[in-house]
Symmetry: C2
Subunit: 225 residues, 2 copies
DNA sequence: GCAGACTTACCGACGTGTCAGTGATTTGAT
DNA sequence: ATCAAATCACTGACACGTCGGTAAGTCTGC
């Protein structure tokens, strides 16, 4: 019968070609809107950024943007998810960096961010803005921080021969994330006065070093090689 | 311009007594507006916070607020300065804590902030928002960070017997400030998962310790044993 | 009676979201 | 392959609310 929305489509073609459901260039246009949203919300924040400006940068009217995403809130959420996907895809290696290499990946990201103030600003402004009442990105950032803390704690534990549930390890994970985020604000305001990569690397080394050398009660014998 | 507003007044009359200048309750009312602004801008951010809501909480109309402060921007700036004054006055000791005691003061502040999420939110949201183009609080925060970095570097140098111009000392000052700011975002989003005072104290100790024990030697990967 | 502290009334600019309509494209039956 | 119907990707106009700011008048304490 009649398919209601674009979501209701299935088993039309057997072959696994890629352009079956949407209208050929639709994905392209949606991505243009998403990228426009990143730049606008990054420059002005979610509250001050307007759909009209997003639409202009994407080359359509604001009604067109609403046609694709339904509401400003939904656009923000879609943008956040899109950004995650892009980042994962952008890494030359596999989707997710695992183990100790993750620390190096973090350092690389900090260094790379130095060349992309726009991206840094998007993240900084939005994450802070999200703590206000009823902000649509609140759930996203709460979850993101939670996952990041857990992952970092795991890596830190692995590297230092500790337990990932050790409060000290978790504290250090929180601290490292906080350090990176906090530095971004200072750096955006005063790029010449704050050397993000150098600072993060130094503190990270120091944290790992202390975690490894000062094992309070090693649950297992851990030779330092 | 007919009835010019009283917006710009800088305590510029001769006698320092109280019977000449403001109209008795005026100072009181202005402070009420300033406090209302802190709560509104803290909850919603500067962009989303409205003069109407500030006015309501101060018990007047938004035109009344404009009468006192001239513009929304001017209100924000006045609020920021008022907050600084309040904080300085709130410390039981003198206006400014000097020397090594400053580190303890910082720790006390972090602990105290744990009981005042509103204040923390105001600072967090506004400081991040200020990095956007043309934000009225940009100058305030740039200056604030600059002064804080310098002061902290001085104290750190004093405590560890280093030079305040030492890049390592300045890096650590930036790092400590970044840590505190970054933790606030995580804490606001997840108060139970982030123990701000404990984390800051631990990192601070660690920083001071390393600064003091490791003089002016270039850092080797594994000097400690 | 006058300056200052307001209020009421209002303006123009914007911002989000709705709606009907219009071509372009895809679909499905022939 | 052809063609009509369905669906899509939009646009333009508008409804409706909100916001910062202005103008002018009123009330109050000195």
């Amino acid at each position: 019968m009649a398919a209601k929305s674009t979501a209701d489509r299935g088993a039309a073609t057997a072959a696994a070609d890629r352009v079956v459901k949407p209208q050929a260039k639709t994905t392209e246009r949606r991505e243009a809107v998403l990228r426009a949203a990143m730049s606008v919300f990054g420059e002005r924040g979610y509250n001050k950024g307007s759909l009209v400006e997003v639409a202009e940068r994407a080359g359509m009217t604001h009604a067109g943007v609403l046609h694709h995403f339904g509401s400003k809130e939904a656009l923000l959420v879609a943008m956040l998810q899109y950004r995650d996907g892009e980042e994962a895809a952008g890494v030359p290696g596999r989707a997710q960096t695992e183990g100790p290499a993750f620390l190096g990946h973090l350092l690389d990201t900090v260094a790379e961010n130095t060349t992309r103030p726009g991206v840094v600003q998007t993240y900084t402004v939005l994450s802070a803005e999200s703590v206000t009442e009823g902000h649509p990105a609140q759930h996203y950032f709460r979850q993101r921080f939670s996952i990041l803390r857990t992952k970092l704690a795991g890596v830190l534990a692995e590297v230092s021969g500790r337990d990932a549930d050790d409060p000290e390890v978790r504290d250090d994970a929180s601290a490292l994330i906080a350090l990176m985020d906090g530095l971004q604000v200072q750096w955006l305001l005063d790029p010449d006065d704050v050397d993000m990569p150098r600072i993060v690397e130094k503190i990270m080394d120091q944290l790992v070093d202390r975690l490894a050398t000062r094992s309070v009660a090693p649950p297992f014998p851990r030779p330092q090689d």
